[in-house]
Amino acid sequence: MADHLLEVRNLSVRFHTAQGIVNAVNNVSWHVDRGETLAILGESGSGKSVSSSAILNLIDMPPGEITSGEILFDGLNLLTATHEERRRINGKRIAMIFQDPLSHLNPVYTVGWQLREVMRVHAVPAAEAAARALDLMRRVGMPEPEASLDKYPHQFSGGQRQRIMIAMALAMKPDIIIADEPTTALDVTVQAEVLKLLRELQDEMGLGLVLITHDLGVVAEVADRVVVMNAGEIVEAGTPAEIYHHAKHPYTRKLIAAAPGKGEMNAPMAEGEALLRVERACKSYGPFKALNDVSFELRKGEVLAVVGESGSGKSTVAKAILRLIEADSGRALWKGRDLFTMPSRELYAMRREIQMVFQDPTQSLNPRMSIFQIISEAWVIHPEILPKARWKERVAELLTQVGLSPDHARRYPHQFSGGQRQRIAIARALALEPELIIADEAVSALDVSIQAQVIELLAKLKRELGIAFIFIAHDLPVVRDFADHVMVMEKGRVVEIGTVREIFDTPAQPYTRRLLAAGLDPDPEVQKARRRAVA
């Protein structure tokens, strides 16, 4: 076998837990060379990050245990190397960029200090380290590079923090950079910028890049080769194009099929009576305008998608309608009554009619209540809906409706996967028989395949029960599949509103166009073409 710069051979790692042993990765092998980008594609729980943790000696043992394999870096088996040898490689020859840079940067030290530290621990003199830190900040395109060195991580935006992480990884001009979901929490436009930066740097320095991701679009954008992981094993490997067009493994095929944004777009609904009409809603926090003159209409059984980047005010709209926050001015007419000024007694009745599904199902389900209690709480609060005798039966019904089994009612939230939990949250919303469900990033945290299933479920509910949705999302392909109308928001105001076709095919506003252009297509060819077009 030819020598590679970094090679993982037959690596198996397992973890000891209460439920016994979990094999995190099994017999995994891959390699990467200078100047090349390897993507490791997998959903949560696939074990895609474990091998990189093993490379950098980041697995806690116990409870972790490496049962077999070797990791060869430049001929040295890292797994048998000493602690000190590995420490010298970390950061200097192999560097890592983590997901969620906020928690991965030390909150109590300045960015400059953290940047210099990586050089100082690898014996770069202080003065040189300081000079190089400034260069790095410039290189990653940080505005005001000098001032930023004395700032702390919390003073930067998400995209800027990821640039800092990248600068830190570059500091010692490593041979390999491992990037673990480097763009996951970022807005699409920022994601595009970060990926562009990584690509440029790679071209410039000729380093090997290992990119761990769940996003086919990211793979299509940057990868030279890709390995697909599922349940701790590599199921398939090849170039992105090979994988996308000629996937052999059923799992890969399923994954590709689940990628959103390919189906027919919904035709606009026939004209009808407005169920909800929001007029000139405003909300400010001090000088910051979270909602600036927002108006829109929603008809019965219709899906209105609200899209925009973080801070655009799309969640604020939902909270204002639900009276979780109080709007400063404007009206929200629900069947002719103004939600913003509704007295609390009427509000109670309104709660039946408008429900919400939250982004993070782990957070939105009370961990100390059983599924039965969670769903039936609706009827405890609104006893007129259902006599107690029928609760059990109805819970079973609802669980079946959202694709779960009736005997799940006895269990607790932590015993379910993320997708299942979101189904439970939907069942809870349905228990009140609402006419409108506001879904706030309801599928964003889910894996692609599960995302598709949940969207399918929502579409079914819309179809069969005639429920209207306000669907808040930052992920445009999902919106494209599900929405009837789309409202694009930026900085608290409505940029553009129209049918899904209007927005996706003939966007009127430059902002909307930018947003659409920044999105990544899972098809490598399409994506390549699009990149060329943008360039």
Binding site: L56, N57, L58, R87, R88, I89, N90, G91, K92, A95, M96, F98, D100, S103, H104, L105, N106, P107, V108, Y109, T110, E117, V118, V121, H122, Y152, H154, Q155, M165, M168
Partner: protein
């Protein structure tokens, strides 16, 4: 800064409320005249004493007079000592302040170092031994520890003076006794805080950067882990500033704790009030310092 202004105002309000409550409640607990004068004092003497100290007036009049005096920065005289209560208290408070400061400095230093090392390998031998011994120490009644300490180190071994003040040596036993309980507590907090800090994402980053273990413990993790520790240190220091009654009593240490219990038992109201006021102010100042330390350690709080 307006944040501090409102803090000062609300703390001042609490202090006033506290003093008002103490003023009235303490006067419900009996007559200082009977305690000051001998058993066989004549009724005239008692009457005279009460008259002289204004104890015969209706409570509300006494209160009015006290408020008036306090507004003129006069905190009254001690019933027992025939000198200004504030003087009695400040004299005692200096001792308590030193005792508390030295003890807390030692406790914090020791707990931070030992706790951090224990946390590096949770469940390891060092961790177990440290946790267990510190818990035993913290579980023993302090008067018991104090007397055993005197018996062993002063009487048995003759290394240290039994009690009193004077030389540095006199401070060792009282501080050692006071040390034990906060040490056990703060050690646990340091340890817990360090254990969870070791699990933080930025530690992973540091390891990925190739930072040495020592530096991970004492540079990366410790500063983050200190935040909850500081809170506990503050609470414990506040408890010490309120006076270490038992230790002061046993070691004949003229601190505010002993003064407080004596004044309470003698119903020396002005001294009680002055002592509460001085300690409350000291604790307030200390809390400000703690806030400052917080801001110093954690830039997120500064803004």
């Amino acid at each position: 800064m307006p944040r501090y202004a409102s803090r000062i105002i609300s703390s001042f309000a609490s202090l006033v409320l506290l003093l008002v409550m103490v003023f009235f409640l303490s006067r419900l607990t009996g007559d200082p005249a009977a305690l000051f004068l001998p058993d066989d004092a004549t009724p005239q003497m008692i009457e005279q004493f009460r008259e002289l100290h204004g104890l015969n007036d209706p409570m509300i009049v006494q209160f009015g007079r006290y408020v008036w005096d306090v507004l003129h920065l006069n905190f009254g005289d001690s019933l027992r000592q025939a000198r200004p209560a504030i003087e009695v208290v400040t004299q005692a408070f200096v001792w308590t302040l030193w005792l508390a400061l030295i003890t807390m400095a030692l406790v914090t230093a020791a707990a931070v170092v030992i706790g951090s090392l224990a946390a590096f390998r949770p469940g390891g031998i060092f961790d177990r031994i440290v946790t267990f011994t510190s818990l035993i120490g913290a579980s023993a009644p302090d008067f018991w520890v104090a007397i055993v300490g005197i018996t062993v180190f002063a009487i048995g071994l003759g290394w240290l003076p039994t009690s009193g003040t004077g030389t540095v040596w006199h401070w060792i036993l009282p501080i050692a006794v006071l040390f034990i309980r906060p040490f056990g507590l703060i050690l646990q907090v340091v340890r817990g805080s360090m254990v969870s800090a070791f699990g933080s994402a930025y530690v992973k980053t540091a390891r990925a950067k190739g930072v040495r273990d020592r530096s991970i413990i004492f540079v990366h993790t410790l500063r983050n882990a200190m935040l909850p520790v500081i809170t506990v240190v503050g609470d414990q220091a506040a408890a010490l500033l309120n006076g270490a009654v038992v230790v002061e009593t046993i070691f004949g240490f003229p601190g505010v704790g002993k003064l407080m219990i004596d004044s309470i038992l003698n119903r020396d109201f002005n001294v009680i009030l002055a002592a509460i006021m001085v300690t409350a102010i000291a604790i307030f100042v200390m809390n400000l310092l703690i806030d400052l330390a917080y801001a110093l350690l954690d830039p997120r709080i500064r803004t």
